[in-house]
């Protein structure tokens, strides 16, 4: 007993000493939060080239305190509950709309933005944020199909409807997300991915249920790992996940069906909790710089909305139709709107019923 108590006291002491040392080091190097030369960046995990953060600090003198989240909803809840002081964060399209509606965002002063002209106009002025009053695009991407050329012929899997082919029995891994799964069914029926019609949704659910015999698993981020390991022949997932899977297995390919798909955005916004606005604008301008944006796009592997940065990318990336689809395809892509509480639940209930329909 005495040993145990001594042990615990020992551990506590060590923790305290380490904590004190860390605090001391932090105050010495000036990263403590009370300093005004700081930027609190709240971003997805591993979603920026760390070299760029160093470069930013070197150029502007602002220290970056980088915190991460793993879902839009987690980020939203944390900002809404208050008690945070994030200067910038990176939500996806529908979440920007939701945060905007709930007055959680500060409008951007366009006169302070120097890099606005670098962006491709196709990716500005989207339905979730007209005239980019609140947000600047960070990365964009699509929903599509990964297939493995060892098992599947390219010509057999170019369109969403191909997924329903009886040839692919028990071969497809589907992303575990109500919006995306239902979007596939809605697109094959020529309906909007933001439909608020009960009939459309019911029809989409029925169509999706017919896909079940082909579905091997309904999972999330693990898709890229499983595809890289040849666990399944086909998967439906986002372009960002796909680019990672493709980099691990040369037999994998990514297709964005030309009849349409989801176009998603991660945009940088300033939450109303922002305390260091000058630092935030400095960072927005730093990231709009073509050279920095290109470096980031090369590191992350997602598609950059920065037109001038795209030119700087290596030819192999720039001309990759998988991740920079042609205009014809881009024209058919649809952005998700925030559906509101009622319809978010309806979509999720439909998806849950689909998931339960397996036996």
């Amino acid at each position: 007993m005495k040993k145990l108590v001594m042990g615990m006291i020992g551990i506590c002491t060590i923790v305290l000493i380490l904590f004190g040392t860390q605090h001391y080091l932090a105050s010495k190097t000036g990263t403590n939060v009370s300093s005004n030369k700081v930027l609190n960046l709240y971003n997805w995990g591993d979603y920026i080239d760390p070299e760029l953060l160093k470069k930013f600090t070197k150029e502007t003198g602002y220290k970056v305190s980088y915190e991460t989240f793993d879902s839009n909803e987690a980020m939203y809840t944390k900002i809404k509950q208050g008690g945070t002081s994030y200067d910038l964060t990176v939500p996806s399209d529908y979440m920007i709309q939701k945060m905007k509606r709930e007055h959680l965002l500060l409008p951007l002063d366009h006169s302070k933005l120097t890099g606005l002209k670098n962006y491709d106009t196709r990716f500005l002025n989207q339905s979730f944020d007209h005239n980019n009053q609140y947000s600047l695009p960070y990365f964009w991407g699509t929903l599509g199909i990964i297939y493995n050329d060892q098992y599947i012929n390219a010509k057999d899997i170019q369109h969403w409807d191909d997924l329903w082919s009886p040839k692919f029995k028990n071969q497809i891994m589907l992303i575990d997300s109500a919006r995306d799964a239902l979007a596939i069914a809605l697109i094959t029926q020529d309906k909007s991915v933001n439909t608020k019609s009960r009939a459309d949704l019911a029809a989409a659910q029925a169509k999706l249920t017919a896909l079940m015999p082909n579905v091997k698993a309904i999972i999330a981020d693990e898709i890229k790992m499983y595809m890289a390991q040849n666990e399944a022949a086909i998967a439906v997932t986002y372009s960002g996940e796909a680019s990672e899977a493709l980099s691990h297995n040369k037999h994998l390919h990514y297709v964005v069906p030309s009849e349409g798909s989801n176009l998603w955005f991660d945009n940088v916004v300033m939450p109303k909790t922002a305390k260091h606005q000058a630092a935030a604008y400095a960072f927005l301008n730093f990231m709009s710089d073509p050279k920095n944006a290109a470096q980031n796009a090369e590191y992350i592997g997602y598609a950059t909305p920065n037109k001038k940065a795209k030119v700087l990318l290596p030819k192999a990336i720039r001309q990759d139709k998988q991740f920079y689809p042609n205009d014809q395809t881009v024209k058919h892509l649809q952005v998700y709107d925030d559906l509101g509480q009622l319809w978010t639940e309806k979509y999720n209930d439909a998806f849950l019923e689909f998931k339960m329909s397996q036996k």
């Binding site: 879902s71 909803e73 987690a74 809840t77 028990n170 891994m173 575990d176 109500a178 091997k216 698993a217 309904i218 999972i219 999330a220 693990e222 790992m225 499983y226 390991q229 040849n230 666990e231 509480q341 978010t344 639940e345 999720n348 209930d349 849950l352 019923e353 998931k355 339960m356 397996q358």
Partner: protein
């Protein structure tokens, strides 16, 4: 400065009391409150009505109970003979340690290890490949889910059974044999009834957490096994309908309480009077 015994006892209760209020009672009240109110804070039973009127949720509840039941049975069938055997070994505490060892490893890590074992290019398929059998689809099936869940829960079943078996006086078994009972009769009439508290504790320790397993349902089961944990996660994270999520939480708690009551220690007196 001698304090009275009562005062000292009161002093010891304080940390326990604070803990209980902060981390047990307050969250339970919050959960119940969420499940019984509308967005505007009015009292309502609507969430419960939604739950019980939905075939999906009822089916999911049935699934949860059914899989938790299967996991409990599998672990019990494996654990009882194992605990019995361990008790007869010379270095029994060493062998028990080996059984408990996996609980020191993070649950997710163990799950990922199983992915490595069961995937198409994994160890198991490589092994059966040596014998000329084509790779099998092992992941994303009910069996793989049950296997992994049972593996994770087994230590919690073995431990209480082992302890209750260790407490039995070996002379009781000898006496039983002296009085003419064969080995089977001794096991059934003497050992089994005496180890019943351990079995019940093991069932509680396995069945209750199994009701709300959810990471494994996705990672190993590929969402082919859907339990209430999946629905709770969805309501808290995706639809942000915390009220319905809390309702499901409350229903799970009620299910757990029922399990506790069913497997509780019967009052000693009645069992003694019977003899």
């Amino acid at each position: 400065m001698p304090k009275s015994k009562q005062q000292r006892q009161l002093f010891y209760i304080i940390p326990y009391g604070i803990w209980l209020v902060l981390f047990v009672i307050a969250p339970l009240i919050l959960l119940l409150f969420q499940s019984l109110t509308t967005q505007n804070g009015h009292f309502t039973l609507q969430n419960y009505a939604t739950y019980f009127a939905s075939g999906t949720y009822l089916l999911m509840t049935f699934n949860s109970v059914w899989y938790a039941f299967l996991i409990t049975i599998i672990t019990l069938v494996i654990s009882y003979p194992m605990a019995y055997l361990l008790n007869r070994l010379k270095q029994k505490h060493f062998w028990l340690l080996l059984v408990i060892l996996p609980t020191w490893i993070n649950l997710l890590l163990k799950t990922y290890a199983f992915i490595g074992l069961l995937s198409k290019t994994g160890t198991v398929n490589n092994f059966i490949g040596l014998m000329g059998i084509a790779p099998q689809q092992l992941l994303f099936s009910n069996w793989s889910f049950l296997l992994v869940a049972a593996y994770i829960e087994i230590p919690f079943m073995i431990l209480p059974i082992f302890n209750s078996l260790a407490e039995i006086n070996p002379r009781l078994a000898q006496a039983s044999r002296d009085l003419g009972a064969n080995q089977w009769q001794t096991l059934r009439r003497v050992i089994l009834p005496l180890s019943m508290p351990g079995i019940k504790a093991g069932i509680q320790a396995v069945f209750i957490p199994s009701l709300s397993l959810f990471m494994i349902t996705r990672l190993i089961g590929g969402n082919r096994v859907i339990t209430l944990g999946t629905a709770i996660e969805e309501h808290f994270l995706v639809t942000q309908n915390w009220r319905l999520g809390s309702t499901i939480g409350v229903i799970l708690i009620v299910a757990m309480v029922i399990t506790m009551v069913l497997t509780r220690e019967r009052a000693r007196k009645s069992s003694r009077n019977r003899g």
